[in-house]
């Protein structure tokens, strides 16, 4: 996908540059997700919190990834998610009105986001299949095979939460995998 210099210049005017420090919130449960966010640098996570106060990881986003609660962003309904920074982050944020106007003025961006959302659907389907079809160890090995930097950057308890297993189970799996080597 190639953008002309004019298109690049125009696209820049729709994005809000924002620095977020580690542990700062971008979105809190009960608020409307006002921005769809591109991560230039750093690491974000989205998660929800159950009645017992347990956090359940939904997604991680690092350099080159997008983050947001799409439902809340598009519907202006309140979000059930929290989004915060696991590392200091540099972001480019766009509002819904900016998003729609940008796609009208730069149609190639509509194609870009169509492909992005297609990939997102595929990724969510794969995650669903992983969660219902594989053992905890298979889930973990598949995850780190597709996202090797996860282990370097994300604490083990958050990876366990993302996989829907306990930290103790993850620790046992990692030990087993080390013993197999």
């Amino acid at each position: 996908m190639v953008l002309t210099a004019d298109e690049q210049g125009l696209i820049k005017t729709y994005f809000i540059p924002k620095k977020l420090r580690k542990k700062q919130y971008l979105l809190q449960e009960g608020d409307v997700c006002k921005y769809f966010v591109f991560v230039e640098n750093g690491l974000l996570r989205s998660y929800n919190v159950d009645e017992k106060g347990n956090e359940h990881m939904i997604q991680f986003a690092w350099e080159g990834w997008w983050m947001g609660d799409i439902y809340s962003f598009l519907s202006a309904d309140i979000s059930a998610y929290n989004i915060d920074a696991l590392e200091d982050a540099e972001l480019l944020m766009i509002t819904l009105s900016g998003f729609e106007e940008m796609m009208l003025k730069v149609p190639v961006m509509e194609r870009y986001f169509r492909i992005l959302f297609q990939n997102n659907i595929i990724s969510k389907e794969r995650r669903l299949i992983n969660s219902i079809s594989y053992s905890a160890e298979e889930k973990y090995t598949r995850l780190i095979a597709s996202n090797p930097q996860l282990i370097q950057r994300i604490p083990q308890n958050l990876i366990a939460s993302y996989l829907g297993i306990t930290p103790e189970t993850l620790s046992r799996i990692r030990k087993n995998l080390l013993n197999k080597k």
Binding site: T13, F15, P17, K19, Q28, G30, E90, T95
Partner: protein
Amino acid sequence: MDFKDTVAILGANSRLGTLIAKAISKKFRLLLMDEQLQQLTELANEIAVINSTAAIEIIQCCKDASWEADIIIVVADDATQAAIAGKIKEVATCKIVINIGTSANCSKALQLLLPHSKVVTISVDGNTDEKEPGTVSIEGLDETAITTAYKLMLLTGLNVVVKNVA
């Protein structure tokens, strides 16, 4: 919920900058920026005494402060405004930038210098004393920015008048 928008005050040591910083510290996370570090530290300490839960940080680079902020307040003369605009332009896109001055020195030059920001010009006429509050006039082209500036200035206790809505 402890989520607060972040406001950068560029020129926080000025009379108006200090007034605003003290007035809005309960509602916003503050990034105070100015040249005199000692005076900024004293201001931050003073606010912490008034409001023990205030989230305040001192930043000496106007670009870093503006990059991190959701709302940018500029209290500076024309020449300084131009220099600040040059530094913050690329990180102020689509952000609300509130340009504040007294009626004698307030100009609208910042809107031209930051064409992709939502610039609001606020002019303070008369006292900033709580006992005899002066009048604040707000002008701008973006309705959301004017509303935000209006709500923010109400916190100062000054008489606020919106002169110009798009």
